[in-house]
Symmetry: C2
Subunit: 341 residues, 2 copies
Amino acid sequence: MFKGQVTIKDIAKELGISPSTVSKALKGHRDISLSTKQSVRDLVEKWHYKPDPIALSLKSGLTKIIGVIVPEIVHYFFSTVISGIEDLAYDSGYHVMFCQSNESYEREVKAVETLLSSRVDGILVSVTKVTSDFNHFRKIQENGIPLVFFDRISSEIDTDRVVVDDEVGAFDAVKHLINIGCKNIVHLAGPQNLQIGKSRKDGYVRALKYFNQPINNQNIISCDTREEARIVVPELMKREKRPDGIFAVNDLTAVEAMNMIKECGFKVPEDVSVVGFTSGMISDITTPTLSSVEQHGYLIGREAVKLLIDRIEKKHNLPSQTIVIKTEMVVKGSSKSARSI
Amino acid sequence: MFKGQVTIKDIAKELGISPSTVSKALKGHRDISLSTKQSVRDLVEKWHYKPDPIALSLKSGLTKIIGVIVPEIVHYFFSTVISGIEDLAYDSGYHVMFCQSNESYEREVKAVETLLSSRVDGILVSVTKVTSDFNHFRKIQENGIPLVFFDRISSEIDTDRVVVDDEVGAFDAVKHLINIGCKNIVHLAGPQNLQIGKSRKDGYVRALKYFNQPINNQNIISCDTREEARIVVPELMKREKRPDGIFAVNDLTAVEAMNMIKECGFKVPEDVSVVGFTSGMISDITTPTLSSVEQHGYLIGREAVKLLIDRIEKKHNLPSQTIVIKTEMVVKGSSKSARSI
DNA sequence: ATTAGCATTTCAAACGTTTGCGGAACTATA
DNA sequence: TATAGTTCCGCAAACGTTTGAAATGCTAAT
């Protein structure tokens, strides 16, 4: 019909009125007569006029785009969160722009710059494992752009956050292992510069204390990837006092731990019970299925977007909030031991 | 320093020159003297001026945004593709906007509308399992927006495509099963309205023919989800003539098939060899690890973006191309049978 | 007949950038 | 001393939309 898209000008020309009249008619402005409004609406309908978001953005200074930075997309937990972000954002009239940092500090910094120069209305971040300098996040705030952290947060930046109750989740996981009779529980821990790594370890320690089990530093081992598990777990199984329970900081590590245990000639859960953290699809796929702590990633995504949009639209002016999503211990095959109650 | 962002006007005012001079200086226009250029560049540097993409879009009619529609994000193959899309798009100066259709036709239509009204420069789509009407894709083309299909394509729409060589991949998988001695291979097939479902079945059939094995329609069963596998596979194992090989249309189905086989008291791969399609992370996690056909999702993503950007930037005007990405049979634990050569 | 009041519409500026054209100031040639 | 050429810069319009202010045409009251 026209080159590209129908504009408000085309409508105006056709109807022999001015663009401003059309604009006001569409907004239901009381200045405009009913008959004019009707004819504008009719033509809009007929020509499938859609306002140009770019012109709107230029006027309003808002893009209706939310930027998201995640360490990886190819990752069950993060893709679940993204799914939640996407769903609520679209329902609220926002679009979503993704960047993955690939667990690299440089790429994270670049992603921030990219999103800022795209003039997004707000930014959602889960930081990389290696980030220890947070100035790029400060820059976001200096630009007046709302910022919400989820899951992997930084405690140095004062902003809204959505986190999982990692400490309680870990406590519950270890409590479960103790309940089914484990006496020598090892924790495969995440990086301690990250809040989640620290909290999960804290929960582990608190559970042992609470149930009067000895805390052995040798039982807290830094190991949060499959590659590390491949090395660490066989050594564990060679110990004089073999572990009878393993609480891993994430599912992938837990799964590899299970595989290593089996390779060393032991059985899961009969000889060693294993519990992971995330409870995604992979926990259903393994043999045995993996007991794990469900993090409700989809919900985390939704809550994070909700917080962010509230800030963008200045629905309130409260100090920074932190929303804690409850975890849930999901018992599956890797910890239903014969020793269970 | 200024409200929000530094604009070309701020620079102009500070330097006592006009905005157009600043613009031309930044573009290296020969009209502008070296000294002016230098002072502009200095101030740009000092004030961290970044051109406003929105104003640029309004002028050029281009957004430098690519829209992507995938059935699901929480899915190993698709998140791999997305990862490839993201990487190359950003390197080429484009941003990426995602929509997931959640395998729903209505959501797919809505996603198309959303992206069109966002004025994206091009769209990448992998269609849902249930889409049989393709008019929403025609609308994209009518708007003059380049469109590239990947993996799950529609043959009704004439456009660029990036697909996996499903037929050959399936042929290779079945060839492998035959090579290790399988005589009664079942195919758990995908929906036949989808090209990939059809091609993989075709490859299965061709391989049997090629190696002079009988083709039995009872051995081609529609089953492409874990839920279906849970029902279908136990029935298979009760057959008089038990299958000794299973070629599943995707990994998740293959994994569930393995689990069912084990639940029925048989062993993988000793009694039944299993081969899947996708070869993602999950194929390493299961016990035994799953032999599967690698699809190179990351590469698919990159190729699709490359095709799209070529169209957007009108680098050529060739008729629609179809790029075929070679698959690769990855032999792991679920098919290294004792009968193997 | 003048004016106030009202309903309806248009004008013009703005958002930040680009770009063809015209113009000023200068130098060089005839 | 004109004239032509060169170098450098600003003007204004354009992209599509919004919005306060100004203008138009009308009716009704004085």
